[in-house]
Amino acid sequence: MIELKDVHVYYDKEVIKGVNMKVDGEKVLLLGPNGSGKSTLLSAIAGIIPYNGSIRIDGMEVRNIKNYNAVATNLPQAFSIGLTIDDVIEIYDEVKGLKINVKAELEKLGIKTNKRIYQLSAGQGVIVRTLIALATDPKVILIDEPFENVDVAKRKIVVNWLKEYGKEGIIVTHEVDIAKQFSDYKAFIILEGKVFGPVTVSDLLSSSVVMGEDPSALLTLEINGRKVSLVRGDKGYKMDAIGNLERLYNLVEE
């Protein structure tokens, strides 16, 4: 179980603003536009950056956890320990344990493992990191933008990996379209460092966006200080036609 209580993260300014969130025994999507704080929140949960408040994984406070080998992430920071893909595979096998033959899987996808990590294309990098993370057969997955720059054919493979591995966790994306692949999952939405939800992905995608606070709303968001409601029916802008969540800001400005 992942439980966040009043979580704040600061860089030069506050980027995560009092997030409360609970993921209990299931995989959820965290949707948000670029710069909304998705990766920052995931980094804090993965123990990579400091935070204020409380983040607990299976009852343990993340800042105090030592050697709990049940959590995996594909965040790039977790892969800087090796120079080549082969190095990273070897190191992961030793310190986390790999349950599948990553090298063979990557070669099937046309990725040579003697390459240096930084020589990979953006899409290849995402695939390599996601596969290595999931190959540790983790209980909890923290997956950041697994479809970013990945071509359409390989996206289906990544979807299958994400459905197969990990008992619970958070999958972050800014693409509403890809969320359709996970229609039975719950989704949280992150905007300007605040998290809203959950709502089921199928409800989210079939909802419409209307300005203001609607009493029958599935979910009420706050964008640039203005309330926006996601409601059932067709009376506003259809969510599944939006494509990505940046468009919500355009709708508010219109």
């Binding site: 920071q77 977790a78 800087s80």
Partner: protein, 264 residues
């Protein structure tokens, strides 16, 4: 044992470390053997050669220490994650680094030793080699054991405080090595030899070429002589202090963007 072997392989095949730590050192060895030696008589050839070995041992290992610091620079982002969510413990990570540094300094000291022995012996027309091989290798090992926690501590300090300091701080070991190394040959430093780990590395390297104690001050043959135990204990003491300091900071590491180190 995969981690220490991967680190060792990476360091021993790092072209920058090999360039600065070995190729550039051979430039200094050749300078000492053929250019600077013009006025050296055969009666002082051993002392002269030993002094060059002392400084080469100091500079070569400092170059590798800087390379290790750069390795840590890139890896420190992973450590906060791995120590929480994998079987990697600070002890095992540090063991891997110590293993890497010990193997590397041993290999480098053999190469540097062979370089000094062959070129200086060729120039002076007599075989000049260490008399105390135990001290020769002990010096190499102790220099690695000192330089590693120094580099680790400095790198951790930049992650905990500000990455902006990284570019300057990574080179501190090599800058201090040059500073102390050449100061020893030109200035009477007295007991500072025992307090400075850099000087201790240098004088122990020199001492390995003799059976009798060498002068404490490079140019003062009538003054006090070197106490090998004091220099060894000083070096071990510094290594222990820096190891504890680096271990204390280790658990406080969090990722800081490498871009923060950019100054332009």
């Amino acid at each position: 044992m995969k981690l220490p072997l991967i680190f060792t392989k990476r360091l021993l095949t790092n072209p920058y470390a090999l360039g600065w730590g070995i190729a550039f050192m051979f430039f200094w060895i050749a300078m000492g053997a053929f250019i600077e030696s013009a006025s050296v008589t055969n009666s002082s050839a051993v002392y002269y050669t030993a002094s060059w070995y002392g400084i080469i041992a100091l500079l070569a290992t400092s170059s590798f220490a800087t390379s290790i610091a750069m390795m840590i620079y890139y890896q420190s982002g992973s450590l906060s994650y791995f120590t929480r969510f994998s079987k990697l413990t600070p002890k095992y990570y540090l063991f891997s680094l110590y293993f890497t540094m010990l193997v590397t300094t041993t290999v480098v000291s053999v190469i540097m030793g062979l370089g000094v022995i062959s070129l200086f012996s060729y120039h002076f027309g007599e075989t000049i080699a260490p008399k105390n091989w135990g001290l020769f290798f002990l010096d190499a090992i102790l220099s690695g054991v000192f330089y590693l926690p120094l580099s680790l501590f400095l790198e951790e300090l930049t992650v905990v405080t500000s990455r902006k300091l990284s570019n300057a701080i990574s080179f501190i070991p090599i800058i201090l090595a040059y500073l102390f190394g050449f100061s020893y040959m030109n200035i009477n430093l007295g007991n500072l030899v025992y307090y400075s780990p850099f000087l201790s590395i240098q004088v122990l390297g020199m001492q390995s070429f003799f059976t009798k104690s060498i002068p404490l001050n490079f140019n003062d043959f009538k003054g006090p002589t070197l106490n090998v135990y004091y220099a060894t204990i000083s070096l071990i003491g510094w290594s222990i202090i820096l190891s504890f300091a680096s271990m204390l900071l280790f658990r406080r590491l969090y990722y800081k963007s490498l871009e923060e180190a950019r100054i332009a």
